[in-house]
Symmetry: C2
């Protein structure tokens, strides 16, 4: 297995500015996918506004570059001001993976 | 930061055996929390049956012991036979974390 990295983003939405949030989420998703070193993303949010997004990256440098992206910095700021009651970010090295498919 | 580990479980439910699944999910959640080395768990599933569960552990040994737990092995088997269309498991070492709270 090639070494790769995961960023786990666990959050609770305030429910504020639903439309603005939706637009920005789409922009951020598109931009992330264009970043060098981006591998893939998995995202789930339930009806109560709790969400987990895991993005996967080739290197820690790729994660740092994405964190410092100008548009992403704006989104992070708005996230704190308006969109999230709380969130947690964990940067991980994936050591092992396996999967099952019917 | 103390070294700790995350198990990312991404899955898609078949929708089969909803009641049995719910009961087993509760049993497994209770048992996991009683395991030595268990830290915490975050879990979200949306209306389409897509879910991400991240459990956090003190060591890789704790993760291995939980994977080999008898009741958990039964659940894993039923998961493949009935409950999941697909799933992916990633075992990670958390390298950095930060959080925000309003």
């Amino acid at each position: 297995m090639e070494t790769y990295y995961a960023v786990i983003f666990t959050s609770l939405r305030t429910g504020q500015d639903g439309e603005d949030y939706g637009k920005m989420a789409e922009v951020i998703d598109t931009l992330a996918k264009q970043q060098p070193g981006f591998l893939r993303v998995e995202s789930v949010r339930n009806e109560e506004g709790k969400g987990i997004t895991v993005s996967y990256w080739e290197s820690l440098e790729a994660i740092q570059a994405w964190k410092a992206n100008a548009k992403h910095l704006t989104a992070q700021q708005l996230g704190k001001e308006k969109w999230y009651t709380n969130y947690k970010v964990e940067i991980c090295q994936v050591m092992k993976d396996y999967s099952f498919e019917k």
